[in-house]
């Protein structure tokens, strides 16, 4: 079979494709004539009539000022070849060429321009989108002020090992900067600011180099461990005409296969797992793709092994009998072998760190420790997201999801009939412990059931009742609501949960949820965001983006009227310093005046209801909001809640 050849875009065919080649050639001839005119004037003491006409001729000047085939058109062709569905951006002059080419030359389709109100929202939307879609969307931003806004969201995506594809506008050629704004929005090395927490960047100096770097950037972003990348699109390259005779070629994208663990090491892990009496699998960022959860279930089931999920990905069904996440303490303590799969903080998983004045930590388990993790393959040093070093007995640098099939096969080969019977007995005990865990969760949720402000247990039980028969996705991290969704809801689809921010940078929640909802839209899924109030206040304009682009998203406010995590931090300091905590609210509360999130939503043109503080009002309000979301619109319900 003949292989398709990579797209080649010579300037003439490119222009024919756009339908106006002759016009551009005429324009360039006119430019040449106009540039020669001053010299001719200097040599002639008395201007001839035709020279005067040449200087004052309107048609010649108009032609000289236009080009119908700017470099940005080719750049957009490159981005189209990479399959981007969307480009999220707050408009900016340094990438005005790209912007114009997206909406005109590109027809505002694949990518479609998504209007964002803050660059942090643009990147965080890309973060949430990639969690569902498994690939990046594009973000455009100023190389200076835009990137500074975007940087925290980039850090989150970096820590969370998520690909975001960022294209920066920059005007490197100082001789072509037209105003003081061009100067203050230009930078020698645009990507330097985020180089510590991006995987790769480049600033190509030609259109051909742009094409190659753009394809390379996509490949690098997607290669395990996935991370954000930055590509600088020079303003002059964007806006100048494509050079005459340019033979531009867009390279073919071929993603790299993720690395599988060393065969001998995998065989050794299999022997250890089969021999262990109480193996525990700690799941970190295992489920990169939808098959990840299936593979982890298969491994756990053939071993009848306990699984403790860090919930950074949708790794394991919450109601699976082997899910022991809510009894992780005894599970870790009693383990004789712990297998960490792409766990970002393995030290934290197997040690207890005191939160009191004097630091201390203690190992929770005597188990042998084994890791399979791709983070060993790519490490940076400045930002300390690597976590404390945990010594282990066997370490494999590989992608855990990719390694699971080989590990499963190796385990199967070692299992005898007697061993299988023993494992079934172990599984029965774990299933009973799981059942008790779930019953305990139901009992725990009953405390403060009728309280006002509304308990987070009641909030999540009310919400579950409304969505459990839908095809749903929870696009927020439940840690702020005491993990009640994980305790009460049935998560069993790869898209049921998108994990958390990675870098714990506040301001991620709302835009990541909008990005996830954007990805879920074509699947008809009901995307739900339990939204912390402090997080929304970073950049609430993303709600307008959701309304403007008709992104169906149910936002349920967890409105505890404070930055509650920080209230507790100040409390700890105040008590450790023996001063009492009665002033810990200063700088941490979000009241006086109270914020009306329903009115905020309404101001952005979306359905908003609340504040709701009586739990009996909550169910009907959620029903009304879901009806709006079913019609393809975002909706928000403001719920006044307990702190956690």
């Amino acid at each position: 079979m003949r292989k398709p050849s990579p797209p080649r875009v010579d300037r003439r065919s490119f222009l024919r494709g756009a339908g106006a080649g002759a016009a551009v050639l005429a324009t360039q001839n006119s430019v040449a004539q106009a540039q020669q005119a001053p010299a001719a004037r200097a040599a002639a003491p008395v201007p001839a009539a035709h020279e005067v006409a040449a200087e004052t001729s309107a048609p010649a000047r108009v032609e000289a000022q236009t080009t119908e085939h700017p470099g940005a058109d080719f750049m957009i062709q490159v981005l189209k070849s990479l399959g981007f569905e969307y480009v999220c951006a707050n408009p900016g002059s340094s990438f005005r060429g790209l912007h114009e080419s997206v909406v005109n030359f590109g027809g505002n389709q694949a990518p479609e321009f998504i209007t964002c109100c803050h660059e942090e929202s643009s990147v965080a939307m890309g973060h949430g989108y990639a969690k569902i879609e498994g690939r990046p969307l594009a973000v455009f931003a100023h190389g200076t002020v835009g990137l500074q806004h975007a940087s925290m969201a980039i850090y989150n995506a970096y820590c969370d090992r998520v690909p975001v594809y960022i294209v920066l506008g920059n005007n490197l050629n100082a001789a072509t900067r037209r105003s003081w704004v061009d100067w203050v929005h230009s930078v020698q090395d645009a990507a330097a600011m985020v180089r510590d927490y991006t995987k790769w960047d480049d600033a190509p100096a030609s259109l051909q180099a742009f094409a190659e770097s753009a394809v390379r950037a996509y490949k690098i972003a997607m290669t395990t461990p996935a991370m954000p990348v930055v590509l600088v699109a020079d303003a002059q390259l964007q806006e100048d005409p494509i050079p005459e005779g340019a033979d531009l070629r867009i390279p073919k994208l071929r993603l790299a296969n993720p690395p599988q663990g060393d065969q001998q090491a995998v065989a050794e892990i299999a022997r250890m797992l089969v021999a262990a009496e109480n193996p525990v699998i700690v799941a970190g960022r295992v489920a990169r793709t939808p098959v990840g959860m299936e593979r982890l279930m298969e491994l756990a089931e053939i071993l009848q092994a306990a699984v403790v999920d860090t919930r950074l990905r949708m790794n394991f069904p919450t109601r699976h009998p082997l899910n022991q996440t809510d009894r992780r303490g005894p599970a870790i303590r009693d383990a004789d072998l712990i297998l960490g799969l792409d766990v970002s903080d393995f030290y934290g998983a197997v040690n207890d760190i005191s939160q009191q004045l004097v630091y201390s930590s203690r190992r929770l388990t005597k188990a042998r420790l084994v890791t399979i993790q791709s983070s060993d393959l790519y490490v940076k040093s400045n930002y300390q997201e690597s976590q404390r070093y945990q010594e282990v007995d066997l370490s494999v640098a590989a992608d855990s999801e990719t390694t699971l099939p080989a590990l499963i096969e190796a385990v199967r080969a070692l299992l005898t009939a007697d061993r299988k019977r023993a494992l079934q007995e172990r599984g029965a005990k774990l299933a009973e412990a799981h059942r008790a865990m779930f019953e305990q969760a139901r009992a725990d949720a009953g405390y403060a059931w009728d309280a006002s402000p509304i308990s987070t247990g009641r909030l999540c039980a009310e919400l579950w009742a409304q969505i459990k028969n839908e095809d749903w996705c929870l696009a927020s991290s439940p840690g702020f609501v005491s993990n009640w969704p994980f305790r009460l809801w049935k998560f069993d689809k790869p898209y049921h949960h998108i994990g958390s921010s990675g870098g714990a940078g506040i301001g991620y929640g709302a835009p990541a949820a909008v990005g996830a909802a954007l990805a879920n839209r074509k699947h008809g899924r009901l995307t739900v965001n339990i939204q912390s109030d402090g997080d929304l206040m970073y950049a609430p304009g993303v709600l307008w983006t959701a309304a403007h682009h008709r992104v169906p998203l149910l936002t349920v406010m967890h409105n505890n009227r404070a930055y509650h995590q920080e209230v507790m931090q100040v409390q700890i300091m105040a008590n450790q310093h023996n001063r009492g905590i009665d002033r810990a609210y200063i700088g941490t509360r979000l009241d006086n005046p109270e914020i009306s999130y329903a009115k905020l939503a309404q101001a952005f043109g979306m359905h908003g209801e609340g504040p709701i503080s009586d739990p009996t009002d909550l169910g009907p309000a959620l029903q009304r909001a879901i009806e709006v979301v079913r019609r393809g619109q975002p909706a928000l319900v403001d719920v006044v809640t307990q702190p956690r």
């Binding site: 005191s354 009191q356 059931w449 308990s455 009742a465 023996n578 009665d582 956690r644």
Partner: protein, 114 residues
């Protein structure tokens, strides 16, 4: 590690003291203090507990054990010394926690049925 020994000893003492008869206090003032000194931030306004702190009531350790633990807590809870809060105030908080209503029973609560 040197801190682990006194904390462990105090926990043993708290366990022993748990067998003592319950004490009294002013639950109304305890409710006010429960908010004022920030107990609710981690344990919930109804002392129901959550990810940041365990449930405290209505079934609660007896007052002597409660006083010991609050002065010398383990885990993430910050210590509340006598300089920060008096025994009398803690006694009122203890009374408030004990006065919490019993929880809704899952079997009687449709939303808590699987």
């Amino acid at each position: 590690m040197h801190r682990a020994i006194p904390v462990f000893t105090l926990l043993i003492a708290a366990f022993v003291l748990n067998a003592q008869p319950p004490a009294t206090g002013n639950p109304e003032n305890g409710k006010r203090l429960f908010t004022a000194v920030g107990c609710y931030q981690c344990h919930g306004r109804g002392a129901q507990g959550g990810a940041a702190g365990p449930r405290l009531g209505p079934k609660v350790m007896v007052l002597p054990a409660f006083l010991i633990y609050v002065r010398h807590p383990a885990g993430a809870m910050p210590p509340y010394t006598t300089k920060v809060i008096s025994d009398a105030a803690l006694t009122d908080i203890h009374a408030y926690i004990r006065s919490m209503p019993p929880p809704a029973k899952p079997a009687d609560t449709p939303l808590l049925n699987p």
